[in-house]
């Protein structure tokens, strides 16, 4: 019985395209995250208790720090691949979110989110949000100045929520910043709550994908009724196993050779400490950039206020994700297309969608770049004031231009693909 189920499973057909590997890369990065994360959990001391450093690293001799920070410094500078383990974990996180983002772009631009996959799109968007939150919590765990500063930004964002902000912030942090047992609380989120949510969402994501079968790229002989590709056994399994090995190898190589987050250089977090330049991991730079260049717009209502961090740090990300969740419904309304699709579209076949998606991506790119405007200013010899003005200009000018260019190019491309003399179908917009 089990044998028959396995045999049936082995015959399942998986369409093949290079862009379908992006989701798999994300999945395998997640596996590496779990593996390295579990290993790290054995050596990380999730404690805020204060100690004085008495290890071998001279610059920190006699410095007061939390046990969490000390455990990370000891792990990093201890010598037995501890640093490689930590850096592999961090690199896996950076690649994980990058792969999800690219995979989401592929799904978006090819229209794979249309029926019957609208629910799976929502699960995917949820996975992206969970990944961002988990990464944010993770960077704060070593309790160094950079991580602690990030935690401050998170605290100020929650605090800014109208009416319930202060209660919410005190609940998350256990009191006024830095709160009670900040590292320990963040650790519980990063190690239990969020990974469980990710595992559950990811499991559903795969289950739906299995049931509904994967979409396929259009071709002259492919129709919605059929599926073309390789069977799970042996070809597809072999290919995906090879990809897994490559992902593990690349992440391990990055972790062993390319430095990331050298917390022993930052120093331990302490209330008075600050560091320059300060900034989050790449996938949160769109919010950081917005916090820097968006003009401060707060709202005062009598003796109450809604401070500017709410609009930029809370409302903006929420609006972005709301747009992502709603997109399948928006497009369905606009096109009137409620049919089920298993064949993908070429991105150029939908010039409006391609243009809107490109516009959104360029907004994220400009904001992400703006997150480093102090560093860029010092490299280029430009004042912060001028850098801010320049990025505000870029934010207004670049996205619509990119959208217009993509629209025109897509129109041309999908026009060129139609054979000469064929009757024009309804405009693909």
């Amino acid at each position: 019985m089990a044998r028959r189920a396995m045999a049936t499973a082995g015959r399942k057909v998986f369409p093949d395209h290079w862009s379908f590997l992006l989701g798999e890369i994300a999945a395998y990065s997640l596996v590496v995250l779990f593996g390295t994360g579990i290993a790290l959990a054995f050596v990380f001391d999730a404690s805020d208790a204060r100690v004085v450093y008495d290890g071998d690293y001279e610059p920190l001799a006699g410095v007061e720090m939390s046990r969490a920070y000390r455990s990370v410094v000891d792990l990093s500078l201890g010598g037995t691949a501890g640093l490689a383990l930590r850096q592999t974990h961090h690199w896996a996180a950076l690649v994980f979110v990058g792969a999800i983002a690219l995979h989401a772009c592929r799904v978006f631009f090819t229209g794979a989110f249309r029926r019957p996959r609208r629910l799976n799109w929502s699960i995917g968007v949820t996975l992206l949000a969970l990944a961002l939150l988990t990464g944010f919590a993770g960077v704060a765990l070593p309790d160094d100045v950079l991580g602690g500063t990030g935690a401050r930004i998170g605290y100020a964002s929650v605090l800014s929520v109208p009416v319930v902000g202060p209660g919410l912030a005190f609940w998350v942090f256990g009191g006024e910043f830095p709160g009670a047992q900040m590292v320990n609380r963040l650790w519980l989120f990063h190690v239990f709550v969020l990974p469980l949510a990710i595992a559950g969402a990811f499991g559903s994501h795969l289950w739906l994908l299995w049931r509904q079968t994967h979409t396929q790229m259009p071709g002259p002989w492919r129709r919605d009724r059929s599926i073309a590709g390789d069977r799970l056994w042996p070809r597809h399994l072999a290919r995906t196993s090879a990809l897994f090995a490559v992902v593990v190898a690349v992440l391990g190589a990055l972790g062993a050779t390319v430095q990331v987050n050298p917390v022993w250089l930052h120093g331990p977090f302490d209330e008075g400490a600050a560091t320059v330049p300060a900034g989050p991991d790449w996938f949160l730079m769109w919010i950081e950039g917005a916090l820097r260049i968006v003009p401060a717009v707060g709202v005062e209502l009598g003796s109450f206020e809604v401070p500017s961090p709410f609009f930029v740090g809370v409302a903006l990300p929420l609006a972005f994700f709301a747009l992502l969740y709603a997109w399948p419904l928006i497009e369905e309304r606009a096109t009137g297309d409620r049919a089920e699709h298993h064949t993908l579209e070429r991105p150029a076949d939908r010039p409006v969608r391609a243009a809107l998606g490109s516009t959104a991506l360029s907004v994220l790119a400009v904001l992400g770049l703006a997150a480093n405007h102090d560093y860029l200013g010092s490299v280029l010899g430009v004042s912060i004031e001028d850098m801010t003005a320049a990025f505000r200009l870029l934010l207004v000018v670049v996205p619509p231009s990119v959208g217009a260019v993509v629209f025109v190019l897509a129109r041309q491309r999908s026009g060129a693909r139609r054979p000469a003399g064929a009757r024009r179908r309804a405009p693909a917009a």
Binding site: L159, V163, G165, G167, F170, E288, L291, P309
Partner: protein, 207 residues
Amino acid sequence: PVEEERHARPPLPGGGPGDAGRRRALVLAGAGALVVAAGALRWLLGASRRAEGALSSTAWRPGVPLVDEQGRRVSASSGAPGAVVTVWPEGHLGDDDAQAVLVHLGPGQAVTGPGRQEWTASGFVAYSRLCTHMGCPVALYQVEANVLVCPCHQATFDVLRGARPVLGPARRPLPQLPLAVDGAEGVLVAGGDFSAPVGPGYWGRRR
């Protein structure tokens, strides 16, 4: 590669949305969730009021001496013009919300502020060190321009004009700490708590 017929999907377990019993269960679940949410909201409202109370004050009181990172009191005749020191209330070294930046002004420099003529002492002025944008310690001081710059999002505050924001995303000046000199020992003491709640804004900050 192979090509074959896509199999018709078996319906998802539990029937479709036309299933009356299922809909009723959903409605009940929704109602239950609303009750829980309402309870949570009520608790949050109370918790927010209490939190705002804690946020509105720090440990600074009239007569409390200023101490540096080593816990030493700050003499009113110490320091060079342009010097900047992080200070805390004595007995509360390390209290996050009480941290202040003490600036020694140059000769001929004065801080202009309505009703705050008594707030500087011996050429010193003190402000909260927590940025009013998102609470990062405002650790950078540009002596030539007399501005404090926050490393997080580059909010810039004019020290000579009550630390009001001149650049960047902050909207409110850094709250000022009134200073006085303890005649007996010649050390700097506070004249009271900060002029406004410190750090980032929140709903009831202006209550």
